[in-house]
Symmetry: C2
Subunit: 433 residues, 2 copies
């Protein structure tokens, strides 16, 4: 069965994924002699860097997600479909999806990455990922339901366990989530739950490496570490989670934590598809591409964003960091290269321009690296907010996030505490809303 | 098993339901010598009059729902629990819930109403209700998914059927939903779905009685009817839906409509509980109460809001209208009466003060009755918005709704078009988000 997609006189670029890479590629092909077909399993683009704020009640999904059709409503000829791709058939130049086959002239895989539990069955069943809007909303419900349920427990050890949170992974997402939980504990939860004793609520952050925020400077790592400890978060370095059975987290050290909730921000793996040679898959499931993001050994298949790895950039011989900036830049450069290719001009190799990195820790606290410049505290925090608002798609989303943050800042409150997706831990099965 | 609820030295008022009736009762008992225990199956209060705007993408849930714990965080001694009540044991003065038994000194049933399909099995399986936030979000996903799916259909009759909507029930909810669908058709959907022909999108409103907005004046009914027809909505009066099989709606006349989506706003029934005599149940499942909202034949059980019916108000010999104002006023009056009762004073009978009624139809169009005054058009529309914003709980919600409406008005856009709860029609089973 073929999906019903009208042909045009232009060669078709089929883009899998409406993340940062996919939308930037699509934009750069607007008004160019290509027919762009974009597929995604959701009808919206997600601004992933702020997902943790949806999970912790600071923002509603509409603030950080943007309908893909609306994004491209002036891009005449772009065709969008909600579809999940299963198999790629490079020899037939088509892909198989749940809505039928879609042919292509040039295929671009921009499918992003998903939570990586490194094959640990127990963790993948019981720990909470945070890579999509539905996952973030589930986590929000779970956090709130823990405190509701705590009222029905008699044993102090049970209450203690349901009020504790373990965040695994000391990258920006893990640090930001742990920080947001500490803010909830300090300013919001005690007002909502006066019957509970919040001295019992422990927050742990577990990192396998020797420091948190590994991708940032040592100074920023250290600043962030100190800030988290000051907020009462237990940070465990050089510690690897080995198992979680729903009540106890075991690690490779003698650290053992009793807690019901594990938030997993410890790793990602690229989304893969059937039909491509296994040999092109590198570490983390990433597809190996050349300097032009062309998939190794395939003529008309390109890969951009988290899903790709290139060893051709002299500045980044081990591959680029899997962050939004890489995806954005790859999308834009590939767009230009496809246009060059069509004009018979030579393509230009991708070179990543590092625009710095940052992470927020809590109210008035963030860390920011920009080349040799390291900022912390209030200025870094303002910088973090400014950059994130600037990068959101659409004026409405920028305004909604800005107003929410101003509101939350001055009221010490977060308005979004509705349990809309009642969530039972995975072993109990999900409950219908 | 008993739910863990600490006792106080004051007599306990147990309120079932955090709707308009329940929250107004709880508020009027603040700082009075009662221990108030409030239970609800959600952790938030829903402003039901605006649910249709959540369903049609105009508002996010956080704009019209308000966390109950936050509402009462200054009400010392009020205890809130998420719980579903199954059985009432008047002889033991306790109720059985999913979190255990809860004893009471005074029980107040304020459980509201639910969608009434009048026993029609097919309709209850296949038609969409709109009485809760999850239902409204499901409906929003369903509306958007219809247009996504339309792209995958080849037969024109199939496309036509998936683009058509039938709203059953000509009360305010039905009228407002049909109007909002017409606004979507006019201003928003054609931009999002340029491949579809929106002349194929038919909107039907079916009403069993001789006029829509039956509870309002004949002038308002007529104005609303004309406005809906002008917006291209097919209004069918004196027509009763007899069956729906997922593709065809049959009625008691020769009207037969081919459509996949039926939105049911044609009736409500009160929520009932096990353990009470069947004799106290009147039409619509409503519990018969005396002039003080005391359940007939029970000493310590009161009923307020949609769940109650009283024949003791001389102005309303057939019972009061099941609207927000009735619930609000009953909650407040019962609060005062419980205080009087405790002081040994005489209770005062409930008298309903009609504050008028209104319904919005679309952009710049509404109807409003206030005694002998009937307003229509832009002034009524401004009045409708003003009253609804005024009645929302909390400054944040008022501000969010106001800003959204101003935004939607001037941009001819509605921002909330994310399919967050992927929804398959009921026969296909729900899909996990």
């Amino acid at each position: 069965m073929n999906a019903l997609i009208p042909d045009s006189s232009f060669p078709r670029v089929l883009i899998i994924g409406g993340g940062f890479a996919g939308i930037n590629l699509a934009r750069s092909l607007q008004n160019k002699p290509f027919q762009v077909v974009l597929v995604d399993k959701h009808n919206y683009h997600t601004f992933q860097p702020l997902l943790y704020q949806v999970a912790t009640g600071g923002l509603e999904p509409d603030a950080i997600a943007y309908p893909l059709r609306k994004m491209f409503d002036r891009h005449k000829g772009l065709i969008f479909r909600i579809a999940e791709v299963n198999t790629i058939h490079p020899e037939k130049k088509c892909v198989t999806t749940n809505i039928g086959n879609i042919r292509y002239d040039h295929l671009v895989i921009a499918a992003g990455s998903q939570t990586n539990f490194f094959g640990n069955e127990g963790l993948s069943q019981l720990a909470q990922g945070m890579k999509s809007v539905p996952e973030a909303l589930d986590l929000r419900s779970l956090i709130l339901q823990n405190f509701e349920e705590a009222h029905q427990l008699e044993e102090e050890t049970d209450i203690d366990r349901i009020m504790d949170f373990v965040v695994v992974g000391g990258g920006p997402t893990g640090v930001e989530t742990a920080g947001a939980l500490a803010e909830l504990r300090k300013h919001i939860l005690p007002k909502d739950y006066p019957e509970l004793d919040f001295d019992m609520m422990d927050i742990h952050l577990i990192e396998a490496g020797p420091r948190i925020l590994r991708s940032m400077s040592e100074k920023s790592s250290e600043d962030a570490f100190k800030a988290l400890e000051k907020m009462g978060i237990h940070v465990h370095l050089e510690t690897r989670v080995t198992s979680f059975d729903g009540t106890t987290i075991k690690t490779n050290s003698d650290l053992e934590i009793k807690a019901n909730t594990v938030i997993w921000a410890a790793g990602i793996k690229a989304v893969n598809f059937e039909g491509l040679e296994k040999a092109v898959i590198e570490r983390g499931g990433r597809y190996k591409v050349d300097a032009f993001n062309r998939l190794e050994g395939y003529e008309d298949v390109f890969v951009i964003g988290d899903t790709a790895i290139s060893f051709e950039d002299p500045q980044f011989p081990d591959g680029h960091p899997q962050v939004a900036q890489t995806a954005i830049q790859m999308g834009k450069v590939l767009g230009k290269n496809l246009i060059r290719m069509q004009q018979g001009a030579e393509m230009k190799p991708f070179r990543y321009a590092d625009k710095g990195s940052m992470a927020t820790i809590g109210r008035n606290k963030a860390v920011l690296d920009l080349g040799k410049l390291h900022l912390g505290g209030f200025i870094a925090w303002m910088g973090w907010m400014f950059v994130h608002i600037l990068n959101l798609i659409g004026f409405r989303n920028k305004a909604v996030v800005f107003v929410n943050w101003v509101w939350n800042y001055f009221t010490y409150d977060k308005g979004n505490r509705l349990i809309i997706r009642p969530f039972k831990r995975k072993e109990w099965g999900k409950v219908e809303g």
